[in-house]
Point group: C2
Chain length 240, copies 2
Amino acid sequence: MRDSKLRTGVLYGVGIGPGDPELLTLKAVRILKQVEVIAVPKSKEEAESKALSIVQQAVDIKGKEILELVLPMTKEKEILAKAREDVANLICEKLKQGMDIACITLGDPLFYSTFSYFIPLITKVLPEIEVRVIPGVTSINAVSSITLLPLAEADEKVAVIPATYEEKGLKEIIRNFDSIVLMKINKVMDKILTILEELDLKDKAVFISRAGWPDEVVVKDVESLRNKRLDYFSMIMIKK
Amino acid sequence: MRDSKLRTGVLYGVGIGPGDPELLTLKAVRILKQVEVIAVPKSKEEAESKALSIVQQAVDIKGKEILELVLPMTKEKEILAKAREDVANLICEKLKQGMDIACITLGDPLFYSTFSYFIPLITKVLPEIEVRVIPGVTSINAVSSITLLPLAEADEKVAVIPATYEEKGLKEIIRNFDSIVLMKINKVMDKILTILEELDLKDKAVFISRAGWPDEVVVKDVESLRNKRLDYFSMIMIKK
């Protein structure tokens, strides 16, 4: 028998920051303590979730249900759409049972995160659902704080671009902005080096992988990275 | 007599997030509890510091020395340079006495913050000084979380631009990026409305002032703001 008074759960997107457990916010900690279910997006390929291991260092999550949201690392749109829908349905089931869910995400839930895909899928099934996002410290702020390079001063312009973007546009943006953060550079490093050379900006660029993690790497001589195999969590910051 | 063993203090730049005291990070709280001096940049015009009142809601700062760093709101370069140098010297005095100082800043210390000006001025006087930056949640992530508009998904490009920038360049950037955050719009709102109208993007724009503060304002019908007097802490986010 359905209890008509049953309250629908609240869906929280919780940003846990760039990697250092101490960069969780007080609000993230409170919500994670409070909810019954912690949802963890992960790829099929991952053995364990990095995000979950960071949370475990800051919050006691014993007794909470961990809901793994497995999404394949593919660009095939149909497979991806189906997987996302399945995952959204898993979340909806818990919400319908009145459980509050915190979906954790490295950095910020609405900055290059899977969480933003879930919002329309879940509100399609449960239009009245309450979605609350707890913002987090992003990897770009982590990179800036580690290198002590200001992301923006006074009237400066900042661009954040996936380096997979087409070369001509990339060069144009790098030329026109004061600070540029290039994401997803691990597979296109040689292209980036060529552009930096053409624009005479190699000495203004810093490479960072795994910002704020114990195995963080910072490289100022970016040329030394040519033909190297790079970590998935790699970025370049250019500060003129 | 000078104690040659006297340790020089550490200078911390501590981001306290966009306005909600719960958005301080665990690290910010720890550092603020630990230091002897809390430095608070403020303009001559301000009666009290917003940043300090946010910190006071999250951390017990009784017994700590509060160092007010008064900087005039002026564009006159010489006056500003002199004021910044005086303020940097104040900080250096404390550091030389072996005191650790946390310089608090709304949002992130290296994202449109006064803190970045202090770094070169202080390291000029004290080259061996240790500067550590604790990144914070920025106002752009706050705006994104409040509106539930993703700042970036997949391969999207993000631009953050002071809206005081020249009109032609502004229009070009708004046209070419997927997400655009316009800062400092309070005095140039009519110019922005004209651009949004020309690019047919008015319904993709959201206005926010004082994101995350008790007196936060969110306006989706941006046209209604024409000719209105706007708050200093106002932004527009455009999400295509």
